[in-house]
Amino acid sequence: MSAGGPLLRVEDLRVEYPTEDGVVHAVDGITYEVQRGRTLGVVGESGSGKTVASLTTLGITRGQGARVSGRILFEGRDLVALPEGELRAIRGNEIAMVFQDPLSSLHPLYSVGFQLVEAVLAHRDVSKAKARERAIEMLGLVGIPDAARRVDDYPHEFSGGMRQRAMIAMALVNDPKLLIADEPTTALDVTVQAQILDLMERLKRELDMAIMLITHDLGVVAEMADDVAVMYAGRIVETASAELLFASPEHPYAWGLLKSIPTLSAPRDEQLVPIPGSPPSLIHRPSGCHFHPRCPYAQPDHARIDPALQAVPEEPGHHVACLLEPLTRRRLWAELRAGRMPDEALAAVVPAGGAS
């Protein structure tokens, strides 16, 4: 089944919500690919459009007054143009999704087993008994102890980690080719998070599926992703392989993310360099480079010119949307990585005038 080309290719996707206050540009012309059997990590803060982008892939943003344009090519079929009926045959079947909060994504009044059986029967023409067998098999696969008995438990009888396992079992029950996981471990404790990440990694290998992992946690991305896309204000501002992105990030926003979190491997008293200001409104976006009001390195003309995603010289597969000179960027990151503050960052921060 491994035909050439990416499993998922998203081209110039835009999702807009007209509201009383103006049009919310939730996703603003993003292009990316998910390769077969690989994990794409999508990083961004709340309001960066990462969740809307993934929901649109499944057609879940349809009929909410959203305006969607662009193409979402899943094995060559354009999901944006697909009628609802055909999309439903793909959703939960070839493309499945795991959400952040397992308690509110499981129906509290039906047993876990019932909900898994329902997922099987929606897409497979099998008997109820067979579907139940499959449900038990999946619960066992995701590490629910004594699955044959626990299958009849209700969601409230499961712990948080077990619920997320059940969600993953439900998502994988039909052998999807692509799993979209939206902050799958954010609600979990670290030790349980480690279990779930291990589980996803193992299942990805065993079932040969691709994962689109949406998260704000750079540690989770570093651990799981083969490729990374960084989103800011509805756009992708940088994409690269995980190695390249963490070793030589190019976008000042990516630097900001990396330098603003304490890590276990950094010196204990290393200074955190926060990104000044706060994320912009998606209705009134800053002009030019959307990041310029918060960028310590912004030049006056960055408020006018809108940067496009461009290839980084000598680094295949690395793209960045930044108006700074490549050499300047390299120098700045070298200083930041060495724990020094570049002069530009020390100088007065550009006021967030464009945001209002």
Partner: protein, 368 residues
């Protein structure tokens, strides 16, 4: 949406300056710890029946916790959901009444204080909460939220004076004093947490307890608040208790760290010792579970802790961690270990502490 709530150049004056932990400022009071917690216990009853309630059990949220907090230091408390870290904080603040044990603040037992003496103690300790959205009254202006402590404690010296004091506080935490008359919804999450900090600092407390102060904030905003807290601590000589589940954040912020599991402290010690050579297997497991921000280092998967945290209503016998502990022996389920010196700087409650070799397996991950 309130994202565009006014131009607010986020960073506070000291955001750019070096933030190095320089605690233990010489302060009056000598060597006596600011806070001494001894055998603190909080059991929440589990009841059955509606009219006639019978007690059928208890959730042992905090079950015999003892530690000291020195003046000017930052003590971190880490642990997973339900380990009792927030309950411990609320007991110290007297937001909850303890079932047993004592809390001494400047040498004075406070768990049974009432009325005016309690109010006087409360002036000295303040708290910052996790959720900046629900911990501010949406119907009050920011000015009156920050200024309310003055009113509560009868420190009002006329409207002009109060407004000036609040304006000063707002400036200090990096808020624009001109926003005095705005409402909480007009501020972003990070700015709201700054309001919380300003309110907590209004009465110049000696002790500040921050309960998950950044976990509801976006990544880029977290650092702003963390830097603000460190800066305030340095300027005001605050003693800080920092409660969080994020081990990296706690390591960054704290001089000493206590690790809690099911209502007990399992290991406590200076940050460097605890993170560098943990002795309790649970500390080790927590550390090894943290994803590293380095794809080249983290590809080799480590052993993870199996299972979930048991119910605090019915904790395991002996060492409470024995049901999940990779090193557990028979003795662990029978005999409860007490906190003892480990030789590496920390005190751990474990019969079979991690060996340097076992630590090295974890250490490899964080050393790179």
């Amino acid at each position: 949406m309130s994202a565009g709530a006014g131009p607010q150049p986020g960073p506070s004056p000291g955001d750019q300056s070096a933030v190095v932990a320089t605690p233990r400022g010489a302060q009056p009071g000598g060597d006596e710890p600011l806070v001494q917690v001894r055998d603190l216990v909080k059991h929440f009853p589990i009841t059955r029946g509606i009219v006639v309630q019978r007690k059928i059990g208890a959730v042992k949220a905090v079950d015999g916790v003892s530690f000291d907090v020195q003046r000017g230091e930052t003590l971190g408390i880490v642990g997973e959901t339900g380990c009792g870290k927030s309950t411990t904080a609320r007991l110290m603040m007297r937001l909850l009444d303890a079932s047993g044990g004592e809390v001494r603040f400047e040498g004075r037992e406070i768990t049974r204080l009432k009325g005016a003496p309690l109010k006087a103690v409360r002036r000295e300790m303040q708290m910052i909460f996790q959720d900046p959205y629900s911990s501010l009254n949406p119907r009050k202006t920011v000015g009156s939220i920050i200024g309310e402590p003055f009113a509560i404690h009868g420190l009002e010296q006329g409207r002009g004076e109060r407004k000036r004091a609040v304006g000063e506080l707002m400036e200090r935490v990096g808020l624009n004093p001109e926003h005095y008359n705005r409402y909480p919804h007009e501020f972003s999450g990070g700015q709201r947490q700054r309001i919380g900090v300003a309110r907590a600092l209004a009465l110049k407390p000696k002790l500040l307890i921050a309960d998950e102060p950044v976990s509801a904030l976006d990544v880029s905003i977290q650092a702003q608040v963390l830097n603000l807290l460190r800066e305030m601590q340095r300027e005001l000589g605050l003693t800080l208790i920092f409660i969080a589940h994020d081990l990296s954040v706690v390591r960054h912020m704290c001089d000493r760290v206590a690790v809690m599991y099911l209502g007990k402290i399992v290991e406590i010690g200076p940050g460097d010792a605890l993170y560098g050579s943990p002795r309790h297997p649970y500390t080790g497991a927590l550390l090894s579970a943290v994803p590293l921000v380095d794809p080249s280092a983290s590809r080799g998967r480590r052993p993870t802790l199996a299972g979930d945290v048991p119910s605090p209503a019915n904790p395991p016998s002996g060492c409470r961690f024995h049901t999940r502990c990779p090193k557990a022996q028979e003795r662990c389920s029978a005999q409860e270990p007490s906190l003892e010196e480990t030789g590496t700087g920390t005190r751990a409650a474990c019969h079979y502490p991690l060996t340097p070799l076992e630590v090295a397996e974890i250490g490899v991950r964080s050393a790179r």
